[in-house]
Amino acid sequence: MSVGRRSRANAAGRLSVLVGVLSVPTFVGVWELIARSRIVNAVLFPPPSTVAVAVLDWIHSGQFFGDLSASLFRVTAGFLIGATGGIVLGVLTGEFRLVSSLLSPLFHILRPIPPIAFVPIVILWFGLSEAGKLFLVVWGVFFTVWLATHIGVQKVDRGLIRAALMLGTPRRQMLSEIVLLGALPYIVVGLRTAVSISFYTLVAAELAGAFAGIVYRIEIAQQNMQTGQVMGGLAALGLLSFVADRSFAAIAERAVWWR
């Protein structure tokens, strides 16, 4: 009887794996059928085959790698700068009352403003330069990482701090080891959220005006009514942020190495 139940459970498991594998191809197939059936306007709703051709053209024209590297650079550099700043200031505001009194009120006012709302002022300040785009990504990433670090530092087990004090741990090691590693699980969660935020802000930054980039290419294609190219761009962006999120999740698992 229990064997029967187990084999039924196995069968259910196999079925769900099969359905999972077929999910995307089915979706693409249905989309292809609908787009070709002329129920919808094929210019606005091109079939996947058209999208695929547009993506291949994009790659062959050589623009794809230029766009990809421009976007990747903005996301990566912006993430690294924003995350570093967020961690350093988070440790400082979390650990030192005075620094916190000085900066936290300001940060709490600025943090809830959606980074996209800064696009106009960024254009005034930086024009269409690369610095303005970096600024937006850094801005978005910074506050998320700062807040996570700040909270993490305040939640560091007081017992660990006392134990470290009793062992003669110098002030500097206290910050760089006990506090930082004690807060690391929180920081990692903040960094992971910041990965997706860096992509949101990238979109805003490139829509605001750029000369290369995946979102920039999507916008140009839209202006030329190349709907296939628009969808290809969206797919590329989705894939990119998916890969970034998954790789970060893998890194995060190793970052808190003692778990």
Binding site: G159, L160, R162, A163, M166, L167, Q173, L181, W258
Partner: protein, 288 residues
């Protein structure tokens, strides 16, 4: 006082006759008229109220008393983790203005660094004090052998049982070779069986180190078994009611806990605590 109906039978538990006072010159720990007050939202709490005591080098002294009577606060003051509101705490003749490496502490929870292996947790202190990595690890390895965790040297704390973690915490505190080891209910979070093993371990360990130990516990058995002297504290505000010396011969082990002589001793001790408790209670009533 002593129950007249029960003559001082095998009563090796007596008011410590030459109890070192806070002015005894050779004392290693001296607490003089110490009061510690905490600010709370509704005013102030007196956690320790004019306590004086002295501990001689090499002595093992227990502090017992009801929950909230200020045992931890008193211990933290000896550790330099709390500062006196009034009075003075000195260790080896110097005022405790902050934590010092010659005073080690073991807390109720092990508080091991979760990101460090057993070895590196124990090596943390020597490293922090500027010893070379090789030297620190050598010290750690010796202590790991002493606590019998050689197989777990490279394990991370969360993979160890509570008792093993607490053994590591003790070794970590010993790595700096403190002159004074303060222990705040170190076995309080362990089950009875593990606690008994740990008590025997500590008795054995004590033969090999020459630290002075102040040990906080709720458990009167534990206090008598381990200590040379038992200080009994009253319910808050924390004061020391009695200073009793335990004359049981050493070496001891938890086997004595079933010894009739020991049981008589414990009964007397509990009588003392009860009568003192009643006295304190009556005092409170007359005040009210």
């Amino acid at each position: 006082m002593h129950n007249p109906l029960r003559p001082a039978l095998p009563l090796r538990l007596v008011d410590a006759p030459p109890a070192p006072s806070s002015t005894t010159p050779q004392a290693i720990i001296r607490v003089e008229d110490l009061s510690i007050v905490f600010d709370v939202p509704r005013g102030q709490v007196i956690a320790v109220d004019r306590v004086s005591l002295a501990v001689m080098p090499g002595e093992f002294v227990s502090l017992v008393g009801p929950s909230g009577c200020g045992k931890s606060t008193l211990l933290n003051a000896m550790a330099g983790l709390e500062q006196p509101f009034e009075g003075l705490v000195t260790v080896a003749g110097e005022s405790m203005l902050g934590p010092r490496p010659d005073v080690g502490m073991v807390f109720q929870q092990p508080h091991l660094f979760p990101w460090k292996s057993v070895r590196r947790n124990i090596a943390h202190g020597p490293r922090a004090l500027g010893k070379s990595k090789a030297e620190a690890l050598r010290i750690a390895d010796d202590l790991i052998e002493m606590i019998g965790l050689t197989k777990f040297a490279n394990a991370y704390p969360h993979t160890l049982s509570g008792g093993m973690q607490q053994r590591v915490a003790i070794a970590r505190a010993l790595a700096n070779q403190p002159r004074v080891l303060l222990m705040d209910e170190p076995f309080g979070a362990l089950d009875a069986q593990t606690r008994a093993v740990m008590q025997d371990n500590l008795l054995e360990l004590r033969g090999r180190i020459n630290a002075t130990i102040v040990f906080v516990t709720h458990d009167i058995d534990e206090a008598i078994l381990l200590s040379d002297r038992v200080l009994i504290m009253s319910a808050g505000p924390g004061r020391i009611l009695r200073d009793l010396s335990v004359g049981l011969p050493r070496p001891r082990s938890s086997a004595i806990l079933t010894d009739p002589a020991y049981l008589a001793l414990k009964r007397d001790c509990l009588d003392l605590i009860r009568s003192e408790g009643r006295k304190a209670f009556e005092q409170m009533e007359t005040v009210a």
